[in-house]
């Protein structure tokens, strides 16, 4: 033992004069680090209540609870996370998975309360002192627990797709579909948003499980047009998918299509439910569009005898005569329709109500009537010269092409309008070899057409001229041609906050000659099969009517649905109308229906 060993311990005194490490709480505050995982903050306005936080929390510290302020908000479950600090371990996984990045943590770490219940709180709803804390844990930029990008849909190149009417999208393969299906967080907000309330999370789950027959069964519960909707649905579900808040929404439509593509038509009968025993009731349906056929399918499932009257030679309505086959091949539409007829739905083609068969006779001979006759009359522009023979309607061209007739558009066409019909007319014209200019009175971002459609339209070489207002159609030198005069528009903000309005600039007019002008600015209904009295009785307004709760009307026995009875005018809404009308008719066939309704009203 050396002297040094005896003396060195006394060096501890050296430190007696150094600044102590400790912080004098509570006199001096010591805030948490800027990214400290402290107490939860939820920006409830941004949150959509998807519940991913609840799913990921391994401590079951989160319950999703109804918060009145958000009840019924579109694209929102109306629920918000409630935290139980008796369980939480402050891992912050809930913050990491949050689809809206609304959930975060403050850097506050001390909270003293003698009320145990205050440790069980709905963040952002129950007032907490750290609510407005700027600092604290946030998910780092570039950190993801779910891939933000969707799997791209394989497609034909623009050049390739112009060569024919072959389907442009090629469909996912199994690996791609499974990967995309994986991105679903199973919140079910899509279910609430889908007009038909399709069971999206479950059929997506069936893809992850590789059980496509189950997926098909799930889809048929709410939609007898899955092959169709898997291709052309307006997919409002995707617009609310929370995965799309920070990234791209799950490709719900393509996944639906994938399931249908996996199942052979000949197996449908085996896989899907069969109708129940006959009830003896007879229902007539006018129109074999998606609305009519959806009603037919579900009524037939309920054991009723169903006869569909259709003016055209084939079924599908606008899906057949409107939607071009490069988006929806006939075979796919037939896959849906064939299953509907295979369960015993009878379709009488070439039978126009009001001409071949009278509406009144249906009322007499059937227990109920459902009509879904759609919108078939093109709207007119109401400008001078519109009646020129070279001004064609978009609907007519599409119908011609669908029926293998040559619409005779020529080599240089102008399409007026910015909706889906305009895009379809333009792309069809490109496939017929024409050079296409689309004139639209507002900005491209204002177009009601689907964004993807607009993009593909441009890819295929259509020129979109936005802010172009047609003012007059003028004869050309040549009878086979026509001139259009249009003026440039300036967008002016609506002081009341509505969408900006185009204002014609009269000093910036252009005149151009085309082989034809295709007008596609909207369509309305053809109600010729109903007498004026009946129209009045059914309370049609501008060719449309709003049905009551069960798709029923003011006339006993008469139910309506589809484009002329809803505001959204798309296939899935028509399908839901049909399904819902089937439920209504089913109830109506029970004699107490109207009595019950009356009671309810009083």
């Amino acid at each position: 033992m050396s002297l040094k060993d005896l003396l060195s311990p006394f060096f501890v005194w050296q430190r007696a004069f150094e600044k102590p490490y400790t912080t004098l709480r509570p006199t001096l505050d010591r805030p948490g680090a800027p990214a400290y995982r402290g107490f939860h903050i939820n920006i409830t306005e941004t949150c959509v209540g998807c519940g991913s936080c609840q799913t990921i929390c391994q401590n079951n510290a989160i319950d999703m609870v109804a918060v009145e302020a958000y009840a019924g908000r579109a694209g929102d479950s109306g629920l918000r996370p409630r935290f139980d600090y008796g369980r939480c371990c402050w891992c912050g996984l809930c913050v990491d998975i949050c689809t809206a990045a609304s959930l975060r943590m403050s850097n506050e770490y001390a909270w003293i309360s003698d009320d145990p219940d205050s440790f069980h709180f709905t963040a952002g709803v129950d007032d907490k002192p750290w609510q407005d804390n700027e600092l604290g844990y946030r998910r780092a930029e570039g950190y993801h627990l779910n891939p933000p990008k969707r799997i791209e849909m394989p497609m034909l190149s623009a050049q390739e797709s112009l060569k024919s009417f072959a389907e442009v999208t090629l469909g996912y393969n199994e690996e791609q579909a499974k990967k995309e299906a994986d991105r679903c967080v199973e919140c079910g907000i899509c279910v609430a948003t889908c007009p038909a309330h399709m069971d999206v999370p479950d059929y997506i789950h069936s893809i992850r499980d590789g059980d496509y027959e189950k997926g098909l069964q799930l889809m048929y519960r709410t939609n007898p047009f899955p092959a169709t909707c898997g291709r052309i649905c307006t997919r409002r579900c995707e617009s609310v998918c929370p995965v799309g808040i920070l990234g791209e929404p799950v490709a719900i439509r393509w996944l639906k299509r994938f399931i249908v593509d996996q199942v052979d038509k000949k197996d449908y009968q085996r896989i899907l439910e069969k109708p129940i025993a006959s009830t003896g009731f007879k229902v007539a349906i006018i129109g074999a569009g998606p609305g009519g056929l959806s009603a037919a399918y579900y009524l037939r499932q309920q054991g009723h005898a169903v006869t569909v009257y259709e003016a055209q030679a084939t079924g599908g309505g606008m899906l057949r005569y409107g939607v071009p086959s490069y988006r929806l091949p006939d075979a796919e539409l037939d896959k849906d329709i064939d299953h509907i007829t295979s369960i015993g739905v009878e379709i009488k083609y070439n039978s126009r109500i009001g001409k071949d068969v009278m509406f009144e006779s249906l009322l007499e001979n059937y227990d109920a009537v459902f009509m879904s006759t759609g919108l078939s009359v093109p709207s007119s522009m109401r400008i001078n010269g519109e009646n020129h023979a070279r001004v064609l309607s978009g609907l007519q061209i599409l119908a011609d092409v669908a029926s293998d007739r040559d619409p005779g558009i020529g080599k240089k066409v102008a399409v007026i309008g910015g909706g889906n019909v305009a895009m379809d007319a333009a792309r069809v014209s490109r496939r017929l070899g024409a050079e296409v200019t689309i004139l639209y009175r507002r900005r491209i971002s204002d177009m009601p057409a689907d964004e993807e459609e607009i993009h593909e339209c441009q890819q295929e070489g259509c020129t979109i001229v936005p802010q172009a207002i047609p003012v007059e159609i003028i004869d050309a030198d040549n009878k086979q041609k026509v001139c259009i005069k249009w003026g440039e528009a300036k967008m002016v903000d609506d002081p009341k906050g509505g969408r900006a309005r185009p204002v014609l600039q009269e000093d910036k007019m252009h005149t151009e000659t085309y082989d034809c002008i295709i007008s596609a600015i909207g369509q309305s209904s053809n109600l010729d099969y109903l007498s004026k009295e009946l129209q009045e009785q059914l309370a049609f307004e501008w060719g449309k009517l709003t049905p009551a709760e069960y798709q029923h009307t003011s006339m006993k026995k008469v139910f309506v649905g589809g484009d002329f009875a809803n505001r959204t005018a798309d296939a899935i809404s028509a399908i839901e109308d049909g399904h819902h009308a089937a439920r209504g008719i089913n109830r109506f066939l029970n004699p107490d229906f109207y009595t019950a309704l009356e009671k309810q009203e009083n």
């Binding site: 522009m381 109401r382 909207g522 307004e541």
Partner: protein, 148 residues
Amino acid sequence: MNTVDEILDYAIEQEQLAADFYEDVAQRVETAGMKKILLDFAEEEKRHKKILLAVKTGEHELTPEQEILDLKISDYLVEVKTSENISYQDALIIAMQRERAAYNLYNDMAQKVPDGKLKHILLGLAKEEAKHKLFFEAEYDERVLTDN
């Protein structure tokens, strides 16, 4: 028509005539929905009339300086004749075109009088009609030109 009051009386009468016109057409249209719309239009005209009455008593000021947006929709549409089965689109076109005509009338008159109170009133009335036109054109833009 040389005095301010005379001009205002004329304008008030015009609004009343317009209201009568819509009520008259409303009696003849076939559908209940259309009838309601036309009666709404008539109400709108009566509201205009009230404003002018207030101008006359001095409770309300006309504002000829105010900039009113002109969407120029009606300027290029084919004229519509009233009939029993007009559509909503037709009704709007009729309304827009009537307001446009009134606007043009006051504006033309204003060009012909010397600067002063009278001119001020005429220009104010023109602006008032421009506002009405905007009301109907905005409705047309929103409800009819949907896909367009």
